[in-house]
């Protein structure tokens, strides 16, 4: 980039009071990044294992049901729900709606709460099925 380092940057990250909309914004990027790397590798591994010999599938399911696998699974499912809800919020903001201060804050908080609730519901379901 041809940026002149003598020119001042406008202050941005440091001058704002921290709020839920900022948390949701950076979480969207972090969860997107985690899904795109860890999540994508798990997807590829699972599909290759399903297409492979029985011991390949056994290795995959052994990992997926270990405590580490379950921890990663909980993390990925939360990341998915958070990213999806904030992604849907993104699409609403993209059409120019939802920028009023209170509305914006309400829906930012709703994605945070919604993602945790959906993660809990999902694992309660999985737990029920596993028994």
């Amino acid at each position: 980039m041809h940026r002149n380092p003598d020119r001042p940057l406008s202050p941005h990250l440091t001058v704002w009071k921290w709020g839920p909309h900022m948390a949701v914004s950076i979480l969207h990027r972090i969860t997107g990044g985690a899904l795109a790397t860890v999540g994508a590798l798990v997807l590829v591994w699972g599909l290759l294992a399903a297409a492979g010999p029985p011991d390949a599938w056994a290795t995959f399911t052994k990992w997926a049901t270990s405590w580490l696998g379950i921890l990663v699974g909980i993390g990925l499912s939360w990341a998915f729900f958070q990213h999806s809800l904030s992604g849907l919020r993104h699409l609403v903001l993209d059409i120019g709606a939802g920028f009023e201060l209170r509305t914006n804050k309400l829906w930012a908080n709703a994605t945070l709460a919604g993602a945790v609730l959906l993660t809990a519901a999902f694992w309660a379901l999985v737990w029920g099925l596993a028994k």
């Binding site: 980039m1 041809h2 940026r3 990027r29 997107g32 990044g33 899904l35 795109a36 994508a40 590798l41 997807l43 590829v44 599909l47 290759l48 399903a50 297409a51 029985p54 599938w57 399911t61 998915f80 999806s84 992604g87 849907l88 993104h90 699409l91 993209d94 999902f122 379901l125 999985v126 099925l129 596993a130």
Partner: protein
């Protein structure tokens, strides 16, 4: 020296090549596609528990599972490539590094996506489990 420079070298990285809107729109479309397809996958997975390999393979042999799964793979890697590209462009400013990181990103997305799609096709088109 300046006569050695091609016109493209003088304008590279300076501004719009008018690709931004298409990239942006692609990212929105793939996100909606991903949302619907992952809802479908979650519901399907819950019905497949406890994940016997034979049951999973039989499921993917049905065209109405194999095709959405292929679409899901396509949409995931397309969306992830476009998305990570934007994030990289926000943080990597050196032209050379950016070029290299985006090259790696494309390599990863294409290779991983192709592997995933191949695995689905192998099950879908392969012989039923004995």
């Amino acid at each position: 020296m300046s006569e050695m420079e091609t016109p493209i070298a003088r304008v590279r990285g300076l501004g719009s090549a008018r690709e931004g809107a298409g990239h942006w729109w692609q990212e929105r479309q793939t996100s909606l596609g991903a949302f619907l397809l992952y809802l479908w996958l979650l519901v399907s997975l819950v019905r497949l528990a406890p994940f016997d390999q034979r049951v999973v393979a039989d499921w993917l042999r049905d065209p109405f599972a194999a095709v959405p799964m292929l679409l899901l793979v396509w949409v995931t890697f397309r969306h992830l490539r476009d998305g990570l590209q934007v994030a990289v462009e926000d943080y990597v400013h050196d032209e050379g590094n950016k070029f290299f990181v985006l090259l790696l990103l494309n390599l990863f997305a294409v290779a991983a996506g192709a592997l995933a799609a191949f695995a689905v096709l192998k099950i879908a088109l392969g012989p039923p489990a004995a």
